[in-house]
Every structure is written in C-alpha cells, then in structure tokens.
C-alpha cells in the first residue's frame, strides 16, 4: 500500500516536472520572440535584456550593406592601451568633420567587437553642437577592438578602431543563486 502510494507520488511529481519544464520552454520562446522584436528597435528602453549578438550582425543591423570608409585623419579615437578595470574605460571620440553645412555629422556610434552586445552607445549631433566630440566611460568585456563609426547626414560612414587590452572584465558578474 505504502509502495503504491510512493510510486503514485513519484509519477505525479514527474508529470509536474514535465509540465514545469514545458512552461519554462514556452516562456523562453516567447521571450526570444519579443526580444527579437526589440533588436530592430535600435535601443531597448524597457530594461529587458537583449539576446547576444556578434559584431557583424550589429554592423549589418545598424548600417546595412553600406561600406565604411577609413576615417584615419578625420576621426580621433582615444582609449588607453591597457585598461586595468574593464568596468570603467575612458573613451574619447573627436572628429574634424563638419557639424553644419550641406554634409554634416549626424551620429557617432561606439562599438566594441567582443562585448555580448557590441553597440555601446550612439550620440546624435546637431549644428548647435559646433563640433562632434564625445567623451564618456564604457564597460568592456574582454581584450577587444573598439570602433567609432561616424555617420554623416548623407549616409556616408567613417570608421576607426583601436585595440584595447582589458585586464579585468567589466561585464562579468558572479552567477546569481
């Protein structure tokens, strides 16, 4: 009698676990569906995490198949050669491209090749800015190339990249739980 009961219990537990696993799977599928929608929405303002993305996919998503011309001499990207703390890496982008006139800088993108989400930030400029310049601090996951891509209002793209050695990753948190 006791034995039968225990088998019965095990059975129900198993079925329960099965249902639970299915539910988790379904939730994950929904999540993927939703977050894929968010990928095309440039930035995620909801605070929900986005799926990981390789850098080629990011560049294709942001710029399509447009060619990125070399921006050496036009764009100055300053980063430390070795960043001891990947969680706080100072980055400076300065361009001598015009911000007013017929062709002017519209947006500056910061892209890190090996972050799980390569697009770090984008900054849009207007003629009132006077000059396209931005300095901020970013998180880098590991030793990587960092690119700064400048988009002009006519769609021309200029890009430069720098290599940074990162000693301590800025993105890894100890696993929760």
């Amino acid at each position: 009698m006791n034995r039968v009961l225990s088998i019965d219990l095990k059975c129900t537990r198993r079925t329960f676990m099965g249902i639970a696993a299915a539910a988790v799977g379904l939730t994950a599928a929904f999540e993927r569906l939703f977050s894929n929608g968010f990928v095309f929405a440039q930035t995620n303002t909801s605070g929900l995490p986005l799926p990981d993305e390789p850098v080629d996919a990011t560049i294709k998503r942001l710029f399509g198949n447009r060619t990125i011309s070399l921006g050496e001499g036009r764009i100055k990207l300053e980063l430390p050669l070795i960043a001891e703390d990947g969680g706080n890496v100072g980055i400076t982008v300065e361009t001598n491209l015009p911000t007013s006139g017929p062709t002017h800088v519209s947006t500056v993108y910061l892209i890190s090749d090996k972050n799980r989400l390569p697009m770090l930030a984008k900054f849009s400029f207007t003629p009132e800015s006077g000059k396209a310049f931005i300095a901020t601090s970013v998180r880098l996951a590991t030793t990587t190339d960092v690119r700064a891509i400048v988009e002009m209002n006519d769609g021309t793209l200029y890009g430069v990249s720098r290599h940074v050695r990162v000693t301590i990753s800025g993105c890894d948190l100890p696993p929760a739980g």
Partner: protein, 110 residues
C-alpha cells in the same frame, strides 16, 4: 545609493561668445549589469539603467544619446556646445525605471 539621479553639469570658467565649449556632466546611477545564471543564460528581469540622454539649450534639443548597459556606473559625459548667445542648458537622463533626472546650468559670458 540614496542620491541616485543627482546630476551635475560643469561649464568652463570663462566663456566667450562664439566659442565651442566642452560641457562635462555626471549622473549618479548604478547602471545595473545583466545578470546571468550558471549556464550563462540571461536572467530576465527589468534592469535599471539609463537609456537616453538629451541635451537642450534654451528649450531646443541639440543632442540626443542612446546608450546601453555598456556605459559604466555613475557615467560622465563630455559634449560640445556652440554658444552664440547666453541661455539655459538642460541635460535630461531617462532610465528604465521610468524616471528622468535633470541637471541645469546657466551659460553666461564673462
């Protein structure tokens, strides 16, 4: 972190008309990182980070920036501003908790 959202805006000490000045701004914010479990799967929840910074001068938006969690904690930004006339500079940060934080500075010629 009692002072989340404190924004400070710094201007150069002397400003001349027509200059392109560099404005420094800093906001106190945790910029929460994505957490992962042991299988390095993302833990789905609402993360608390700043997603937009807008700069307006005399009520006109002159710069907008969209950012991700890859911007470090207590982020600081330096951006240019062309001053043809005096006025009020407003920097607004919005985060995923639905709050927005504002910092202001008066641009005067000396």
């Amino acid at each position: 972190m009692a002072e989340i959202g404190r924004v400070s805006v710094r201007l150069p000490s002397s400003i001349k008309q027509g200059d392109v000045i560099r404005v420094r701004t800093l906001v106190i914010h945790p910029m929460e990182l994505v957490q992962r479990d042991k299988q390095s799967k993302i833990i789905a929840k609402n993360y608390h980070f700043i997603h937009t910074m807008t700069v307006s001068f005399n009520g006109k938006e002159i710069m907008r920036s969209e950012m991700t969690q890859a911007i470090s904690q207590n982020p600081s930004f330096t951006f240019p501003l062309k001053v043809d006339r005096a006025g009020k500079l407003t920097v607004t940060f919005s985060d995923t908790a639905g709050k927005s934080y504002e910092g202001q500075a008066e641009v005067k010629f000396s």
